[in-house]
């Protein structure tokens, strides 16, 4: 059976050696029987010879069984034993020597266990000591291997295999020694010793077979568990509407689940390429997505990213995708692949945009209401001096109708009119003060980050209104000095105005640009341009005046406030119509003195 195991699995060499040992033991037993049946001295020679052959196989196989099964023992010793037994065997067969006896006496019949059997006798051959030395070497080898296995922790194996091999070999050796050297009148029966050895070895091997069957069972159970967890995983993926994908960076190949393909409108069988997938991503989101991926591949944010972008399906529908991914690295730490899960977030995105729009409407309504109150207060406060002026003027007219008018009275009236005019002026002053009541918190600012902040603020709004934002801020611009929040308000106001101006228009026209450049040695010029209809020529000079607006529902305060802020920063703001159409609002900010000095 173990031989069959070896046949099936050539790596199971322990099984092979065990099978050989068992077969040899059987052969020895037959030889012994043969000897017992011998009638003449010559009859002993053949069985003794064949017994030597069996012994050769048995000793060699036991040695290598121990070596392999315990995975211990010195190989040179095993080879020495093998060599010794080979020489011994050669002596027996090739040289035709009887290694056991120099001369063999005729068989003697003795009674043994109620049977009449033949026993050997004769002059022992000194060469036999050579063979027995080999057997002793096996003992030493086995003890050494057992000690190694014991130390390694395989204590049970060391004791059962090592112990039984030593015990039974010693027993066999003793039997042979006593019978042959001592010329004792007894049959040489060693096969039972080896049978015991085979039994112990068989017992040990059967444990392995049992364990193997146990392992097979465990493996089946764990496979079932694996299938179960895979099924659960699939369930979770499907329940979350996730599409799974793996991008092999080295080979630039993408694998994706069918549900992911469905998200991108790609049929299950269709070949998938990185470029093909990128072409599905909305053109306006491609760069951002590439940058996000590149940054994660470079190790940013621990190689993870969580992003949202649009997919443009062939039929023109736009789908928002939420994607989470993780970059995996190979042994040398290089990014090897990205694993990710994506799902559709269009509904949430639309809800978000709706909320944003409502919030903006509320904010705008709040601003309008605030401005309305302000305007109403302004109207009332200015009405008072105007009414006084009117009454005084009317009174003066009446006085002047008199043939000899009271000039003192008229002078008093004129003085009052002047005072009321000043009063109206103060109201307007106070109003201006109200608009810029917050004090400036001037710090050194980077124009690039200022523009970036505003772009981030309006990005969603711009996407909702299908306006593309173009930013052009060269690196290395000197810092400016200003109040971040106030300047953000100016830029935000100009960008929102620009987007408002783009009602209608083609995709190419729906762009608002924010640019910054050095303007001389002292100032930086920031410009916001749009591709709208531009500003009517007669309005160009007045657009920054309060309550002047080109919008149907505008308050006409945004640009007035912007001018107040820019001028408070020591800058200048102006509007112009671009040569290619559209309006541009430009303002300057002085470069921070620290930056100029350096």
């Amino acid at each position: 059976m173990y031989f069959l195991i070896w046949c099936r699995n050539r790596d199971s060499r322990a099984e092979l050696f065990f099978a050989v040992t068992a077969a040899s033991t059987t052969a020895i037993a037959f030889s012994e029987l043969w000897i017992m049946r011998a009638q003449t001295a010559a009859d002993f020679v053949a069985p003794l010879r064949w017994a030597q052959l069996s012994l050769f196989f048995m000793f060699v196989s036991i040695t290598w069984f121990v070596r392999i099964y315990l995975n211990a023992g010195r190989p040179w010793l095993a080879w020495t034993i093998t060599g010794l037994r080979t020489v011994y065997l050669l002596l027996t067969f090739v040289a035709g020597l009887n290694v056991n006896y120099q001369t063999v006496a005729p068989p003697r019949q003795i009674q043994f266990l109620g049977e009449s059997i033949s026993v050997l006798g004769g002059v022992p051959n000194p060469l036999m000591a050579f063979g027995q030395f080999g057997v002793l070497l096996i003992l030493v080898f086995t003890v050494d291997a057992s000690v190694t296995a014991w130390r390694r922790g395989d204590r049970r194996k060391a004791v059962t295999v090592g112990g039984s091999v030593d015990f039974f070999i010693l027993a066999g050796l003793a039997t042979v020694s006593v019978v042959i050297w001592g010329n004792v009148q007894a049959p040489i029966v060693i096969s039972h010793c080896y049978l015991g050895l085979v039994l112990v070895m068989g017992y040990e091997m059967s444990r392995d077979v049992l364990r193997a069957s146990q392992l097979v069972h465990d493996l089946q159970a764990s496979e079932a568990g694996l299938r179960e967890s895979e099924a659960r995983m699939n369930l979770a993926v499907e329940a979350g509407d996730f599409g799974i994908w793996i991008w092999d960076l080295a080979r630039n190949e993408i694998w994706a689940s069918d549900s992911w393909r469905a998200l991108f409108g790609i049929a299950p069988g269709e070949p998938l390429t990185v470029d093909g997938v990128m072409r599905r991503v909305h053109p306006e989101d491609r760069d951002t997505l590439r940058q996000t991926q590149a940054s994660a591949i470079a190790g940013g944010n621990a190689g993870r990213y969580d992003t949202e972008y649009r997919v443009l399906l062939p039929d023109g529908t736009i789908r928002w995708i939420g994607s989470r991914a993780r970059v995996e690295t190979d042994a040398s730490g290089n990014a090897s692949r990205i694993r990710g899960a994506s799902r559709e977030v269009t509904a949430r995105k639309q809800a978000e945009q709706e909320t944003l729009r409502l919030r903006q409407e509320i904010a705008h309504a709040g601003r309008v209401s605030m401005m309305g109150q302000l305007a109403s207060g302004l109207a009332h406060e200015i009405n008072q001096p105007l009414a006084s002026i009117l009454r005084n003027a009317e009174a003066a007219e009446l006085f002047l109708q008199d043939p000899s008018p009271d000039l003192d009275e008229i002078r008093a009236i004129l003085a009052d009119i002047r005072a009321d005019d000043e009063r109206a002026g103060h109201v307007i002053e106070r109003m201006r003060g109200l608009l810029k009541r917050q004090t400036l918190d001037a710090r050194c600012l980077d124009v690039g980050s200022l523009v970036g902040d505003v772009a981030a603020l309006v990005r969603v709004d711009a996407a909702a209104r299908q306006v593309k934002l173009d930013l052009e801020v060269p690196g290395g611009l000197p810092l400016v000095r200003g109040d971040r929040v106030h300047l953000q308000q100016v830029l935000l106001n100009l960008v929102l105005n620009g987007m408002d101006a783009l009602n209608g228009g083609t995709r190419e026209q729906r762009r608002v640009s924010m640019t910054a450049r050095l303007n001389g040695a002292q100032t930086i010029e920031i410009a916001v341009g749009d591709a709208g209809p531009g500003i009517p020529a007669d309005m160009l000079a007045r657009v920054f005046d309060p309550f002047v607006t080109t919008k149907p529902h505008g308050m006409g305060m945004g640009l007035a406030i912007s001018r107040t802020i820019v001028e408070a920063h020591g800058g200048r703001i102006w509007a112009e119509n671009k040569a290619g159409g559209g309006a541009a609002f430009r303002f300057t900010l002085p470069i921070a003195e620290e930056a100029v000095a350096s």
Binding site: S376, A379, H380, N383, Q384, P385, L386, A387, S388, I389, L390, R391, N392, E394, A395, L398, F399, E409, I413, D416, A419, D420, R423
Partner: protein, 210 residues
């Protein structure tokens, strides 16, 4: 002349406007008295002075509408005109319902303002005449004795002397004497005139059948 001349009482917390308006109205020939608040006006005004009130609606302390209420309860309720920076419908409605002469914007044309003041003045003269007549009549009726009032009550209901005497339990001749006294005291000649006068004076000369 100063004592009884119809006067425009201007009430406004805004001093320059108060001065300018006073100046205009004086130049237009009105006697003017200026007050910086409703409280000042109520405390300082001459109760006998005819004329009208020109008041701002929005004033700190007592506002124009509260002034209107207080004025109506006084013995000399002058007609009131309101001025406002910007009129709001609820206060306009309330002011007009409570008998305001007019509701004008502060920057209303001069002609509109003067015409409104003229109307208020005329209304004051009218109301003042009615009031004076009522007072005079009241003084005449006040001269009647209790018994004469009782008899008057029966007379205006068209009862005959004999019935009156029966009702009051007095002699018919005594009733005749009371009637003579009544016509003398009230300066009337006929029963018809007596009835009209009693009505006009608002005297409910009912003979309570006690």
């Amino acid at each position: 002349m100063t004592g009884i001349q119809p006067t425009v009482h201007i009430v406004d917390d805004d001093a320059p406007f108060l001065a300018a308006t006073s100046r205009l109205l004086r130049a237009s020939g009105f006697a003017v008295k200026a007050f910086a608040s409703a409280g000042d006006f109520l405390a300082q005004r001459n109760e006998d002075l005819p004329g009208c009130v020109l008041a701002d609606v929005q004033m700190p302390g007592m506002n124009g509408l509260e002034l209107q209420t207080a004025l109506a309860r006084s013995s000399n309720p002058l007609p009131i005109l309101f001025l406002t920076g910007h009129g709001d419908i609820p206060s306009t409605v309330r002011a007009m319902r409570d008998g305001a002469e007019d509701f004008l914007e502060k920057r209303a044309p001069k002609e509109q303002l003067l015409a409104a003041i003229e109307r208020a003045m005329a209304r004051d003269v009218r109301e003042r005449e009615v009031l004076a007549r009522q007072r005079e009549l009241r003084a005449r009726f006040d001269a009647l004795t209790k018994r004469e009032l009782e008899v008057l009550g029966h007379v205006v209901r068209g009862k005959l002397n004999k019935q009156i005497a029966g009702d009051l339990g007095i002699h018919e001749r005594t009733v005749k004497l009371h009637r003579a006294a009544i016509t003398t005291k009230l300066h009337v000649q006929s029963v018809a005139e007596l009835t009209r006068l009693t009505d006009e004076a608002g005297v409910c000369a009912t003979s309570t059948s006690n």
